[in-house]
Symmetry: C2
Subunit: 437 residues, 2 copies
């Protein structure tokens, strides 16, 4: 069993930010797995997405259920093999999982108040700069690879443009060269839900000893809808009622809490295995009445009388699932962090400085690329990955691209589909030979 240890590095020098401001001093939380080889050529940086952390692999000592959020991908013998590579996870600035964020004391204030709404807006570029500084301190000049999914993939892409000479490979999974209007729209609704929650207090809710949980719940529910494909939602929940125990294929869901049942390896739950050092608890598992309902599939069974006819009670399983996910998220995630990270997503757009021309923007990249997308991912659709592939090919870059026909939507990047993991494994195997590990 790979044992993880959360570490922290303090930076006393100010970090200049894309917005024109700076952050005076800060800490970055990180973890490393495996060993750096003699010529320091086997380091792989793994970047996290919206609500994950630096805890990407392994478990904490004595906490068997504290798996890192990408543990199916990274570890001894895994596609990214920590027996060969030295893997680094870094928690980004503005997060709520260890690195300096809105809930920490603002050094610009004499009264010791936390940043709250005053935490500066951070961008993917800022995160990449901070990551590079941490790597300096770890004595790593050149990375074998930077790897990430979703927003993490944007960071990997950012690395190839900001530090083209410091990485050999970029592994960009289920990502995009920028957000579409629809992507931004979903982020904006989530932000409005948080900001207009009376408990948000303009971002300074810490002083009021409240948390804008209503807004966080709505934000998370919206997020979950966009993580899943329509098909997998229909397959797993369909029109099943909350008060009817399903049989046939739905039995496993009826027997336990909704979360974590989407896929054996975590699914959406994997987005959440991020609380640093804390054993994952199972708060408030919703109970399901045991009303056996005959022999056919659940969505074909319920008699007319089974509807509750209520506008506010849970009627359908999908509602129960979303409420549960929302409640859980609101218990641990920071509202200001949610705003910051969704804004970093909105702002990322390397083509912007090149009149919208992505091919021109990616001319700076020197790395070799692996891109992976998932057929049913409508949040970051395959077409978005293909835009990146095309722009790289326009620049005669070396690029491998795999489009995986997985049913799980955006969440697929966290799951252990054999075709997907096979592609990543093969890519890292080649890389291992290249760097001599």
């Amino acid at each position: 069993m790979l044992i993880a240890t959360s570490q922290s590095m303090h930076f006393a020098e100010p970090l200049a930010l894309t917005s024109g401001t700076s952050i005076r001093a800060y800490d970055l939380s990180y973890e490393t797995y495996g060993s750096l080889n003699a010529d320091r050529s086997n380091a792989v940086l793994v970047c996290h997405a919206l609500n994950a952390s630096h805890h990407v692999a392994g478990v904490y000592e004595g906490q068997a259920k504290s798996e890192g959020w990408w543990h199916s991908m990274i570890g001894p013998g895994k596609p990214l093999d920590t027996d060969r590579f030295f893997v680094i996870g870094i928690n980004n600035l503005g997060s709520c999982f260890g690195s300096t964020g809105p809930m920490h004391a603002n050094p610009d204030r004499a009264d010791g108040q936390v940043y709250g709404a005053d935490f500066p807006v951070v961008t993917v570029e800022d995160w990449v700069n901070a990551q590079a500084l941490l790597l300096d301190r770890l004595g790593i000049q050149t990375l074998a690879a930077v790897m990430g999914g979703s927003l993490g993939g944007m960071q990997a892409l950012g690395w190839t443009l900001q530090y083209p000479d410091r990485l050999r490979h970029a592994v960009v999974i289920a990502s995009a060269p920028n957000l579409t209007a629809e992507n931004i729209a979903f982020n904006e609704v989530a932000r409005r839900a948080i900001v207009t929650d009376p408990d948000f207090h303009g971002g300074n809710f810490y002083q009021h000893s409240v948390v804008p949980k209503r807004g966080l719940r709505i934000a998370r529910m919206i997020g979950h809808i966009t993580y899943l494909s329509d098909d997998v939602m229909n397959e797993k929940f369909g029109r099943q009622l909350r008060n009817v125990v399903a049989n046939a294929g739905a039995t496993e869901f009826a027997a336990g809490p909704p979360q974590g049942k989407l896929a054996p390896s975590g699914g959406s739950a994997a987005h959440e295995v991020a609380s640093v050092g804390a054993t994952e608890s199972a708060p408030g598992r919703p109970k399901l009445a045991s009303t056996p309902s005959g022999g056919s599939a659940a969505h074909e069974v319920a008699s007319v009388g089974a509807y509750l006819y209520s506008t506010q009670e849970v009627e359908f399983q999908i509602e129960s699932y979303l409420r549960y996910q929302g409640d859980k998220f609101a218990d641990y995630f920071d509202a200001n962090t949610y705003l910051l990270i969704t804004r970093a997503l909105d702002y990322f757009d390397p083509a912007r400085a090149f009149g919208g021309n992505l091919s021109k923007a990616l001319a700076a990249a020197k790395a070799k690329f692996l891109l992976v997308s998932f057929a049913t991912d409508w949040r970051f659709a395959p077409a978005r990955s293909r835009e990146i592939v095309k722009a790289l090919l326009d620049n005669q870059r070396e690029v491998s691209y795999a489009e995986i026909d997985a049913p799980h939507g955006h969440d697929a990047f966290l799951l252990d589909d054999a075709r997907y993991h096979g592609v990543v494994r093969a890519y890292f195997n080649n890389m291992a030979q290249e760097v001599g590990v």
Copy 2:
């Protein structure tokens, strides 16, 4: 100019509801256009969707801008020609546009309090029953057609099952035989936003003289995202910034308020021309700074410095559009009505009583059918209409089906695409010959 007059009919007999309860007495608002012919064979009932009303066509006397929500489709010389057909629009129970709803006095209470959260849950089936009673009072036994889009299409489908001998044709546009898990999920998030707004007061906000506007805004923003296609959002908004005047194709948008500019005939705005008898006002038109930005398309122009770097201010045009739509909606729509109508959508599922077998469910239908769907509608995708078509064909019913390659998403059913209107016009022309008008 077709002049519309809002009318109301009182029903003193209780209406039994699907939920097992009943509504003691109620009023239904309605409008009629054109003339009933001598043998009463040319009546067409038009059913409304989520937030429209009985005001489907024409304008109110002296209010030039008060067009009915489907005025591009219905009127003299329009695809549904009021010179030949007698068209009836009925506002559904639970609505906030005239018919008895949660904001009206509850006759079961001696203190004269309004229903609020006590308004009974109503279903598509209940609405169809109420509509049939109104038609009885109008002396119309058999309809030439029932027509509706989206939730309105569900009512048209419901008519063919509940009153198969009372209609010759059903025109079902951009609809579905039931909601998918994803559809329900979006409804549920919207409802949670409303219900958890502290101003909702469990549905009894009227007594507190407040309106849960925060929740209504979020609900409406979510709705708007699902009404539009990803493509049309990118085309009309893309990544345009709020503080940059777009040129090229975006000029028209920059010149006016965001709403109603999506398409000349109304677009999402058409969902909202529902306030009975009120001239549409133009509240709070957002102003756009006039900063000409060069010669290329807006999404390719903005310089890096143009970002505001803010998590709470409007940065992108799509955000401005959604906030504007949310604000407008919260000013006139009733929160309990939103819950009731989204629940009616959730509950509709004629196959449910037949073990999920839609073909068996539609065996009761005797009408001829026209179904129309739109290629980019991801809320009620063409595949859902095809399910209905297949089930009808399984029963050897006469059915015409058109899949229109319109870019506008679900909203397309309210727009005047020539191919779409051509199909509907041809269908009603044939019907006119059949009924002798």
